[in-house]
Symmetry: C2
Subunit: 168 residues, 2 copies
């Protein structure tokens, strides 16, 4: 038996409360060469041939001015050791790169958090503005593989790690 | 320490193996009024004001001809009881609506799987074709709230349920 939700905003909120997502961190450089970035729960693959990725961003976010002018970004997947990073990258944007938990990579000069479980280097192909948000479509270029740890997840307004596997 | 992955397709595959996602089922009617649908791990919110949703689809998929002509779709979130449904909706498309686990809803006449943890009714606003894929952007209209169960997740090529919560 279902309970009806007539209001569209309430419906979005309540339905997505039941949806889970993986947690990623997107980083890039602003036009002055300073590192910027944010926690994203919207990163998803958009096909493998060619290898494409999409993610969503609010155009009111602190990272938007840099992102809308950028060519390259780094997408980090986080593991169970990434909780503090996920929280830091979704809070006060002036404090996101003050610690010594990142460095510029040699090839793209993008800021890389060294505790990520993996990093995918992306070239922005297309940005589609939709209302106050944007869908960013990128080509994958190459990556870095870190330690394999249980993936960090977001669900019901909090962070968690995977539990029982239902299939092999 | 990171291991370099130079090949872009290999990088996409290996990095996304470490990323997790929630599992949803998208349903709609084809132009003859027959129910069609598929399992999607790319569903994400695209802002709340107005309430928007995006998901990705391969344009070679069995559902694409119907989707590219449709106005409305239903997005279902799945819980731990949704494994068989997630598997069915990603396998042989001729067998996806043979069981009595769904019915047409009264308002939109969309096929609804009755064991979903929630359903969001969506109106397609824009479809952006990218290579062999598409990004579908929808307005949320309203929803149905079912039983709250642990969310079904996909990670490392298999289905699982949430484990330990790291935050409240």
């Amino acid at each position: 038996m279902f309970e009806q939700i007539a209001d569209s905003q309430d419906a979005l909120k309540q339905v997505f409360r039941r949806h889970a997502s993986g947690v990623a961190v997107i980083t890039l450089n602003d036009e002055q060469g300073n590192p910027v970035g944010f926690t994203a729960t919207s990163v998803t693959s958009l096909g493998a041939t060619p290898p494409l990725v999409s993610f969503n961003v609010a155009r009111g976010s602190s990272t938007w001015p840099a992102l809308s002018a950028a060519k390259f970004v780094a997408m980090h997947t986080l593991g169970e050791n990434g909780l503090a990073l996920a929280q830091k990258m979704s809070q006060d944007h002036t404090k996101r790169f003050l610690d010594s938990d990142w460095k510029f990579d040699e090839k793209y000069q993008l800021p890389i958090f060294t505790d990520a479980t993996a990093v995918l280097f992306l070239k922005i192909r297309q940005i589609i503005e939709v209302e106050a948000n944007a869908v960013v479509i990128c080509d994958a270029l190459g990556g870095l593989l870190g330690e394999e740890l249980p993936a960090l997840l977001y669900n019901r307004r909090g962070y968690l790690i995977p539990g029982k596997r239902l299939t092999d």
